[in-house]
């Protein structure tokens, strides 16, 4: 049968376990607001029974260790949603900047088209009035400047996205190095039969940050966690990290290369990096192409109309706009003539004729080779920008809701509930007090036992 010493031993163990549990509880409370912290639950188990003199007696309690409560599946989902959301957020914030150039501010292309068209209508009534001719030149210049401003706005947003690409690549490389290092630490802990605990928390937090930067795929292998980009280029394999590189491509924009030197720019999706690449290589070039086509076709149509007529001096009209060929059309559009008398309003060479003004106005109202009038072409661009921006922000809200939902689920599994911890605190406090009572009781009993043989009596 168990003696008093056994009971004392059990009491001492219980004290230790209660201390350990209080430690876990206090650590949980302390980290209640630490990002990425996963609550730890003390793992208690009863000791093996001892058979002593034919009698079975309990062996007390042991604290096996602390177990972090985490749901790996939820973590994966959160990483994916995070990638998706930060990609859309990156696009949304770029589009918000872009759409201000297309808003009806009075300096936009629509307003400039409007005043240019007005000045031509005025020219129709006063074809030889120098101040009206001057007005045509000024409003033509405003129109060219509106094209310049919009094109430059698009280009500067594009370079901002380009800067974001190289910055994201640098951040990704820092994170993958840290993750590889933590992978090693987790491996050592697991090998020693311990729970990864806080190290895993740290790693999860870093992987989460990584998923904000780019879409990743995470799997477990014998060598530890394996992280690759969406298209399979390795970023981290166990304790080894593979750095991405960014290098200036033939178009002057940063290209992303994997560790083998393959250009993976086009296949990167998700995260800030994916969003920046999408904006830089797909969205903005799409807008710029439309803007350049509009600038080229409109300027060409107007120049053609201008050369059909005669200026105030009776000479054949010369080009009104100078439009650079191809990609720089909208950014480089300018008015070629400065002399108001050079506007070819006349159809017969006499200064008072307005016969060619109708041709000049027709350049604004007739369909361009693209099949749309300048106003329609610009309106459809405005629609596209507005629609893309509105979609991006709707998607961002939707992904945000999903993410919030998932984070709540994760929080309900892994998060610290202060009420629960307070209850545990009281529970373990009581356990500690009870265990301490066992020890003091056994001590008293031992004293009684020792006193049985002494001469002193009560």
């Amino acid at each position: 049968m168990g003696g008093l010493n056994t009971a004392l031993y059990i009491g001492a163990q219980a004290l230790e376990v209660a201390q350990g549990a209080l430690g876990a509880t206090s650590n949980n409370i302390a980290n209640a607001n630490t990002p990425g912290y996963t609550r730890e639950v003390p793992q208690l188990s009863e000791n093996a029974e001892t058979l002593n003199g034919g009698q079975v007696s309990g062996g007390g309690v042991t604290l096996d260790g602390l177990q972090s409560v985490r749901d790996e599946l939820l973590n994966l989902q959160i990483q994916q949603q995070t990638s998706a959301q930060s990609s859309v957020d990156a696009q949304s914030s770029s589009l918000q900047q872009i759409q201000t150039y297309f808003a009806s501010t009075g300096n936009d292309i629509a307003s400039a088209f409007s005043s240019f068209s007005t000045s031509l209508a005025q020219l129709s009534a006063n074809p030889s009035d120098a101040s009206v001719q001057q007005e045509v030149i000024s409003s033509g210049r405003n129109l060219a400047q509106a094209f310049n401003t919009t094109a430059n706005g698009l280009t500067s947003t594009q370079s901002a996205a380009d800067t974001e690409v190289s910055q994201s690549v640098a951040q990704i490389n820092t994170l993958t190095q840290q993750i590889a290092q933590l992978n090693g630490e987790v491996q050592q802990l697991t090998a020693a039969g311990q729970d990864g605990g806080t190290v895993e928390d740290q790693r999860d937090q870093l992987v989460q940050q990584l998923s904000q930067l780019t879409g990743i795929s995470v799997s477990q292998s014998s060598s530890g966690e394996v992280i690759t980009t969406g298209n399979g280029s390795p970023l981290v394999v166990g304790t080894q990290s593979f750095a991405l590189q960014s290098t200036t491509g033939p178009n002057g924009l940063q290209q992303v290369l994997d560790s083998q030197g393959n250009n993976i720019t086009a296949s990167i999706q998700g995260g800030q990096l994916g969003g920046a690449i999408q904006i830089r290589d797909q969205v903005i070039p799409g807008y710029l192409t439309q803007l350049n086509t509009l600038a080229t076709q409109f300027a060409t149509a107007f120049n053609t109309a201008q050369t059909q007529g005669f200026d105030s001096n009776g000479n054949p009209g010369q080009n009104f706009f100078t439009v650079p060929a191809g990609a720089g059309a909208a950014a480089g559009l300018s008015v070629a003539i400065t002399n108001p008398a050079l506007i070819a309003a006349s159809s017969d060479g006499s200064a008072g004729s307005n016969g060619n003004v109708a041709n000049l106005s027709a350049a604004l109202t007739n369909a361009l080779p693209s099949g749309q009038t300048p106003a329609q072409a610009y309106a459809s661009l405005v629609f596209q920008v507005g629609n893309d921006t509105s979609n991006a922000s709707t998607e961002s809200t939707a992904f945000g809701q999903n993410l919030l939902e998932l984070t709540n689920q994760q929080s309900s599994v892994s998060g610290v509930n202060v009420d629960e911890e307070t209850t545990n605190l009281i529970r373990f406090q009581t356990a500690y007090e009870a265990a301490a009572r066992i020890v003091s009781t056994i001590q008293q009993l031992n004293t009684v036992t020792l006193d049985m043989g002494s001469s002193q009596s009560y």
Binding site: S124, A125, S128, V382, V385, S390, D419
Partner: protein
């Protein structure tokens, strides 16, 4: 099932949501526009591009109509003066042809008709705001100048072109007739017939005077016909003016329905958003500090 007690992300999301609704409502009320950037309503923004251009154009077309109306009226009033001058010439010619006039009387009548000729030529050279009305598109050149070599004594310096002024999209109204058509048409030459009448009166031959008077009379009828052109232009311009006024109203009501704000509704939305926002804040302030610790007695 374990319940998530970390309400902070939810509360922050709710607050952000109600704050953003409040901002939108505030912006709508303060700007009076429901569309401030294209993403607010892509379709309306695209439609506004056309509306902006159209509105400014209609404005200018209206100005064109007003200024062309004055031009056309100036031309018409010049022609009306010509008509009365010609009427007077016809009666002078008839008087000269009745055979009872003395030579000196005929000379006096011839002088009067000569005066009428000068007045008609000055009407033919009428200008409005610095532009000659009857010179075709050569508005800076005096249309009729004296030329002794010409049988009529005058030559035409203008051209035979006409200007059409834009008063609508793809709509323009012809606003002038060339002077050569009105005053020196081969079929009914106003200046030529007056000049012939002067010559006939100076010659004193009744038959010649009679013939010349008939020619002036047909020129008179001819000018009357030409005035119809200006009357037509005037009526076209007038009807276009009322169309443009209607168009202005239509465009502005389209603009209101595209990007405008129904103030009563916007104000209601704003007040709802304010209430929702304060409710969200109040809920957050009640929920956040609530833990078990509030109810436990402090340790002794």
């Amino acid at each position: 099932m374990r319940v998530n007690t970390n309400l902070v992300p939810d509360i922050l999301a709710d607050l952000a949501q109600s704050q953003s609704t409040l901002n939108t409502a505030l912006q709508e009320v303060s700007t009076g526009k429901s569309v401030n950037v294209p993403s607010d309503n892509p379709e309306a923004s695209a439609a506004m591009v056309q509306n902006t251009i159209e509105t400014a154009n209609v404005d200018q077309y209206t100005k064109n109509v007003t200024s062309e109306l004055s031009t056309v009226q100036a031309a018409d009033s010049a022609l009306s003066t010509v008509v009365s001058s010609l009427t007077q010439a016809v009666s002078l010619g008839t008087e000269g042809a009745n055979g009872t006039n003395s030579a000196s009387n005929l000379q006096a009548i011839a002088q009067q008709v000569q005066g009428i000729l000068t007045s008609v030529v000055s009407q033919a050279n009428a200008s409005y705001q610095g532009s000659y009305l009857f010179g075709g598109t050569a508005t800076n050149t005096t249309p009729f100048t004296a030329n002794a070599a010409s049988p009529t004594g005058y030559q035409y310096n203008g051209n035979t072109d006409q200007n059409s002024v834009a008063v609508g999209d793809n709509l323009s109204v012809q606003v002038n007739l060339p002077g050569s058509q009105i005053f020196s048409s081969p079929t009914a030459d106003v200046i030529g017939s007056l000049s012939s009448l002067v010559t006939a009166l100076q010659g004193g031959n009744s038959t010649a005077i009679q013939t010349a008077t008939t020619a002036v009379n047909s020129a008179l009828n001819y000018v009357g016909q030409q005035r119809v052109f200006y009357a037509n232009s005037e009526s076209q311009l007038n009807s276009q003016e009322s169309y443009l006024q209607q168009e202005t109203v239509d465009l502005s009501s389209q603009q209101t329905s595209l990007v405008g704000v129904d103030m009563a509704q916007a104000a209601t939305t704003l007040s709802q958003a304010e209430t929702a926002n304060s409710a969200a804040l109040a809920a957050a302030s009640k929920v956040l500090p609530d833990t078990l610790l509030n109810y436990l007695a402090p340790p002794q």
